[in-house]
Amino acid sequence: MASPLEQFEVTRIGPPIHLFGYDISFTNSALWMCIVAGSAAVLLTLGASSRRLVPTRLQSLTEMSYVFVADMIRSASGTDGLKFFPFIFTLFFFVLFANVYGMFPLGLFPLIRPFTVTSHIVVTFALAIFVFVMVIVVGIAKHGIKFFGLFAPNVPVWMLIFLVPIEVISFCSRPISLSVRLFANMMAGHTMLNVFGGFVIGLAAAGGAVKFLSFAPVVAIIGVSALEFLIAFLQAYVFAILTCIYLNDALHPHH
């Protein structure tokens, strides 16, 4: 039986392309990223294009998601955080669609190989390091040198010797924690589903009365799938809200 980690394999589609010594061939990961970004864009643009007073289902979905993200930004980083609405909205929907597309049982159809884009740390780390650099750039652009007051809270001077290194380390570990959280959640969830699926096959292949036990893992898979859909949404939400909280540090560095 195939390893449960085989589903995360990145394979090349089409001809190999090399540029400056790097392999930049089109892969299934890139294909799924295009599908995720494209379908999110098409769906939300379609929803926003019909401007009825009584909204259609797609329009009210779009409006609800707009209000949801706007409320999230307003509560976490204040009204001036709304300038970053397009970025946070895009980030939230890219991660959400990538997570949910991974949950669809597309492997049932021939020729389609399902793939979860966010189950690779290189993808989530690229997103997280972009957020990290953006926070620093925005903070320095808005507050100049005062932005580094973020690392020096209002405490007696002798405490700063201990606190400044701790604050710096905690600030610098943000992209790691942001990316590893999303990647590990997705990878662990899909591996768990695959292992449980292996139990069904293993029990069904066993002879005698044991094979009637194979329905038990199926029940577990249904429960785990429901949990994974919850986690798919929750991780996208957490990624977006932590981005808002980090942006809040850049916009209002005095705490």
Binding site: M72, A76, S177, V180, R181, A184, N185, Y237, V238, I241
Partner: protein, 74 residues
């Protein structure tokens, strides 16, 4: 003991990190529920903090899982 067996044992030991994550998530949700039952009016406003706390707590456990994968597959 050969290297493969040691790797297996190490990966198993690395998943002990999930005990802490489980306890932590239980404390977060339990305390949220206790607080929400005392003051249901304030519960909605703290839901974001609940999820952020859950995420930060879960991360520590997931580091253990990632460590286990790294030990097993490198």
């Amino acid at each position: 003991m050969d290297l493969m067996a040691a790797k297996m044992i190490g990966a198993g030991l690395a998943t002990i990190a999930l005990i802490g994550a489980g306890v932590g998530i239980g404390i977060i949700f339990g305390n949220y529920l206790a607080g929400a039952l005392r003051n249901p009016g304030a519960a909605q406003g703290q839901f974001t903090n609940l999820l952020v706390g859950f995420a930060l707590c879960e991360f520590t456990g997931l580091l253990g899982v990632v460590m286990a994968f790294i030990i097993l597959f490198t």
